[in-house]
């Protein structure tokens, strides 16, 4: 028996599953292990892994409670009941249907009202706004972008552009609309972007309205804007840097957020599908970097701001 044959049977032998093999074959296996240090070491490593796994089994993790399961089962049952069933008597079914229709009509009215509110808020207005509804509409949710970024950066950025009017712009236009050159453009002009990257795309996104304190916003007459700069590293991978006024909120949706202190800055950090994203404040701005790699790139970003 040679090494290749021995290694093919290694796990089966280790786990006592060589049932289909004759005693002679098993002896050949043992004979090879006794005479081949490499294969013997392989077998020993399996035992070491087993011992490591045994350490794992002593760790306790808490599964979801029965109550959380029951709540979801009850939720599913309610939906089934609302849809009606053959076992429900006609009078009860009819009254449920009437209520279901009323709820559906109410839902449609609410949906129409929300759409009206959303589209009206898309017109940029350069003044203070404090209502909760407007605040929620104006919050930029980066979760869809982060989740897609690793597999398709263009599609990921499109999730942002689909919710906010966006345009590919020149450096001059950014300065005019944003009120100042962005950190990415300044670094790009000095060939000092993190990760030795090149700036490949600059998009200007129009935010629904300005939430800055009076006189604090540096954005141009067109209204409050957000700049999204896509940078490409020599290996073809990319990262995105967003810059916007500090008063504009960003959120990571349902992604768990870690609060991290680095270089005296408080960062929010999330990770999804292999993409790391961070967000922090600098002066009057809020910045977010998606697809950033390694502490070196983060330090480089923070050092420049």
């Amino acid at each position: 028996m040679n090494c290749k044959q021995t290694r093919e049977l290694m796990s089966a032998y280790f786990d006592g599953e060589l049932n289909g093999f004759t005693g002679e074959s098993q002896n050949e296996f043992r004979g090879h292990i006794a005479s081949c240090e490499a294969c013997a070491q392989e077998l020993r490593s399996f035992e070491q892994l087993r011992q490591l796994a045994a350490c794992q089994t002593t760790r306790r993790f808490t599964p979801p409670s029965w109550e959380s399961i029951a709540a979801r089962l009850d939720g599913a049952s309610s939906r089934t009941l609302a849809a009606g069933s053959d076992s429900v008597d006609p009078a009860t079914r009819d009254s449920r249907l009437i209520w279901t229709r009323r709820m559906a009509i109410g839902g449609l009215i609410t949906l129409a009202a929300s759409a009206l509110l959303f589209f009206s808020l898309r017109v940029p207005q350069h003044h203070d706004v404090t209502s909760a509804t407007q605040a929620s509409v104006a919050t930029i949710n980066l979760q869809p972008l982060i989740e897609l970024f690793n597999t398709d950066a263009d599609k990921a950025i499109a999730t942002l552009a689909s919710r906010l009017p966006a345009a590919e712009v020149t450096l001059a236009k950014v300065e005019a609309e944003f009120g100042r050159p962005t950190f990415v453009q300044t670094s790009a002009s000095n060939n000092s972007l993190p990760g030795n990257a090149q700036l490949v795309s600059t998009k200007l996104l129009q935010l629904p309205y300005c939430k800055c304190a009076k006189g604090a916003c540096t954005c141009g007459p067109g209204g409050c804007t957000c700049v999204a700069c896509l940078c490409e590293r020599p290996d073809g991978s990319t990262y995105l840097v967003l810059e916007l006024c500090k008063s504009q909120a960003i959120t990571f949706g349902d992604l768990p957020v870690q609060l991290v202190k680095r270089r005296d800055r408080n960062l929010q950090q999330v990770e999804a599908n292999g993409t790391v994203a961070i967000s922090w404040e600098q002066g009057g701005e809020r910045l977010a970097a998606i697809g950033i790699r390694g502490s070196q790139e983060i330090d480089s970003l923070l050092a420049k701001n």
Binding site: R44, C55, P63, I69, A70
Partner: protein, 182 residues
Amino acid sequence: MTVTDESIHESVVRRASAGERAAQRELYEHFRDRAFRVVRRIVGESDADDVTQECFLKLFAKLHTFRFESQFSTWMHRLVVNESLQHVRKRSRRKEYGHPMLDEELGQVAGAAAMENAELLEVAMSRIDPELRVVFELKEVDELPYSAIAEIVGIPEGTVGSRLNRARTELRDQLTKLGWES
């Protein structure tokens, strides 16, 4: 008459299948630790709670299809593994360079010999294919025979050994990269 584990399961399964909440709870509490461990191994910590809940909702919905022709635990295991692997497939795959920030930080920690072996294995497991993770877990933690693993994962019994070979080799390589000394 001696009440065996299987007969307990059968009566509970039948009542749970009929929608009896108490029986569903009994079934859940009997299998939840095992299921959660497998789910967590395949999908990772952040999604484990959600996916475990989804698994059991699906289990209760499909309970009427269980024919008592095999062990209930094998049927449950199979459902949990399939749901978990499906969840992973829906998520985008990680690029080959993995989680760079974590790589750097762990490199430092491993060098300082600060990481416990259990944590090392946890990280190494997260870096191999989910389908390899599951066979390793079912063998090393659940101590199932190849025949049961084959049935749960839906592969020929002869393939279990080769898959475990790959799982063990890749785990060892990942552990070595993390500074584990064998």
